[in-house]
């Protein structure tokens, strides 16, 4: 395995809070105020790491191990996606590994919500699973679409093939839209969940973490940042991979890296605009949105398959 893979994934991990910071800054600017500096998520993590941890009296061993498992899984996740370079080594990047790593993240998060024995944790957990019940099929369908399109279940290979040209642009765009909605649902963004809210009764993701503190919370925060960044990197490389470096030459790598950052920034701006101009959906309206996304994915597969 090439050393460049490892370096680019490490950069992705290091940059994840920066992307989240930029997202917050973008949203602040759109709403007409200055906002926190883009490095704010790093400061928040540092603050949390320097704090002690308080455990609920009702919590079991789950609360001790879950934060570590979640962080480990999300770091591993960052190593499965290409960033700016794809070699000929497809050892990593199986889509099913990615899907199941995300499932581990979700499973452990829900467990930790239940483990503190507060009403909010259970409520958050039930909502999270309710949403993911509708979101997961979209993930699988998009994977199936990519398989039909590129003939592989390996994201690195898919990136390589898609970067050389797309046979069915219409289907490709439809699948991309489906995947974007999937990103919003899986990462609990507006319109499915409001990550900024302070209202414990409307929370989905945050409700499960209400009883965590200090280092545990930092692990979860970091893994949330990573999950968002990796989901977006997946989108960028599976659907708009043009310009990615297929050889390890310096100038190609540099262009690919700059292009990656630009694409990510465009994604972040889209997210920021959506979150600014629309309200969150009612909880029971979210499935309708995800059903739309499901239909998009299905149609995309049908188009590719029929050709």
């Amino acid at each position: 395995m090439s050393i460049i893979y490892i370096i680019q994934s490490l950069l992705l991990i290091a940059g994840a809070p920066l992307f989240v910071g930029s997202l917050r800054r973008l949203k602040a600017v759109l709403r007409g105020y200055k906002g926190a500096p883009v490095l704010q998520p790093y400061y928040e993590l540092m603050k949390l790491f320097s704090k002690g941890r308080v455990l609920s009296g009702n919590s079991s061993f789950i609360t001790s191990i879950a934060p570590a498992i979640v962080l480990a899984a999300s770091i591993l996740l960052a190593f499965t996606v290409p960033v700016a370079y794809i070699g000929s080594d497809y050892g990593l990047g199986n889509i099913f590994v990615i899907i199941f790593l995300m499932a581990i993240l979700k499973f452990m998060t829900v467990l930790i919500g239940l483990d503190s024995a507060s009403a909010f944790g259970g409520m958050g957990g039930s909502r999270e699973l309710f949403i993911s019940m509708f979101a997961e099929p979209i993930g699988f369908l998009t994977a199936a679409f990519l398989y039909f399109e590129a003939g592989s279940f390996n994201i690195i290979e898919i990136t390589y093939i898609n970067s050389r040209g797309i046979a069915e642009p219409a289907a490709h765009i439809m699948a991309a839209v489906a995947f974007l909605l999937w990103i919003a649902a899986e990462n609990t963004r507006i319109p499915v969940d409001n990550p900024e809210t302070h209202l414990e009764l409307t929370m989905i993701h945050e409700a499960m973490l209400l009883d965590l503190s200090g280092r545990d919370l930092a692990y979860f925060e970091l893994s949330t940042y990573l999950k968002l960044t990796v989901s977006m990197a997946l989108f960028v490389n599976a659907f708009i991979p043009f310009g990615i470096a297929a050889s390890a030459s310096g100038s190609f790598l540099l262009t690919a890296f700059v292009l990656f950052v630009v694409k990510m920034l465009i994604m972040l701006s889209m997210l920021a605009v959506t979150e600014t101009i629309m309200a969150k959906f009612r909880l029971f309206r979210a499935p309708e949105l995800l059903a739309t996304s499901f239909c998009f994915a299905l149609t995309a597969i049908a188009i590719v398959y029929l050709h």
Binding site: K27, L30, R31, G32, Y33, A119, F120, M123, R127, I190, P191, N194, E196, T197, H198, L199, E200, L201, T202, L210, E275, T276, I277, M278, A279, K280, F281, R282, L283, F284, R285
Partner: protein, 521 residues
Amino acid sequence: MRLQEIKDAILAGNPGLNTEIKNKNELFVYADKDNIIKITECMFRDFRMYFAGEFCMQEDMFVISVILTSRKQGYFVIIRYETEGELISLQGLANQSGLFEREIRDLFGLEIVGAIDNRHLVKHEEWEKDVYPLCKDFTYGRKIRNLNETEVYRFKEVTNGGGYQIPVGPVHAGIIEPGHFRFSAIGEPIENLEIRLMYKHRGIEKICENTDINRLNLILERVSGESSVAYAEAYALLIEKILDYNLPEDIKAVRVVLLELERTYNYLDDIGGICLDVGFSYPAKKFAYLSEMIHQLCERITGSRFLRNVIVPCGLNSKITLANKADILETLQMVEKRFDGLLDITLNAVSFLDRVEDTGIVENKIAKSLNMTGVVARASDIHYDVRKSFPYEIYQSLKKEINFEKTGGAFERYKIKIAEIKDAFLFIRQALNLVENDVNKCREKINIEPGVEGFSIVETVKGELIVYGKTGLNNRFERLYMRTPSFMNWEGLTFAVLGEIVPDFPLCNKSFNMSYSENDR
């Protein structure tokens, strides 16, 4: 029916009853323990009076006063009886009277006779036994110790089947006041909600009895910070009514300007809050920005962002110049322009309308049975506005129409608040037209004779505020009672959320936006 006619009708039905008319619009009926229920019933049945509150005074005996109002004619009827230790329950007869009885029991130590609900209201489990802070023998300034001597409060709970409890508060994730919400939910839909408040009871009524009346406006302004002007106004009206004092027209106009400025920034915050709670962040931030512009305007003209210490009894404690007038008009024009643009954004956003429409509905029947007042009542088709029924200052010439909506949901409350803001812009302009010269600061020292009493009533941003005062020795009040609007309106929220899902509660709550501190008075 005029007050004199009511008096005659009561006397005809109950010969030998003592009655008295004071301050032009207050009829006092002196009943006793045995006939209080009968008389109250007849007031509801024959004269269509509304129950507005009940309070206790300690003289030789405990004196209980039941406040009834006529919303059509704008007068009060007070039914009074003396008692040694028994409080005759009107529960089942007068809507929400249980709240007042439980409050009196906790603060004076009376025993409620015939109560359906006699759980503690003010006293929490932490309180020590047998302390009644509003009794005269409770030393002023004494702290209540946390001894955990009060019995445990029993919540209504849905326990069988899939029902479960969600306790929220009194400490919340956001920085808000303390209140405990006990949800019983089956899945996401809310089956029952019970609200427990009064975690930080401040004993303001006790403080008022021990403060000189010339400084009392400062205390009242702090009952609820967001309604500072309205409380100061209610206090000023009370004193002026007792003294039968008439203010010059321009001071009255300035007071209306201040009251409406307060209304503007409150409702701007409210509708911004509604947007924020559904995750619609752009208008939320912008409404907050407009509210800040009004706050800064308030600071420029009076030196206080909340317009505190401006309205004083029989005067005005701040000089309003013509430059101030121009400033107000200019700021208003700026705010109004942006406000209209923002309204278009919210009222045309499908995602926003989808959240607020058909959410948190309080039907007219329920709103009536809870005696709700203010914007939340007007959203449920109750045509009552204190400014119209009991016009004070120059509202008689300003307030012609009452804003109301039919359905009673969150969206209707949103629309009513918008209508009130638009009205406020209009009233401020009309009132400022009456100000042709600088309005000078005028404040005089007030001396008041003991033993006179009166009621004043004001439309605050939350609803109808009634203040009762009876003067005592040393230029102090013997009893000052505030029937705050939130005290009665909070109950409406428990009906608004029934059948809604748990994540929609914050939206319903924000569309009510009742004050916690008005309970903790």
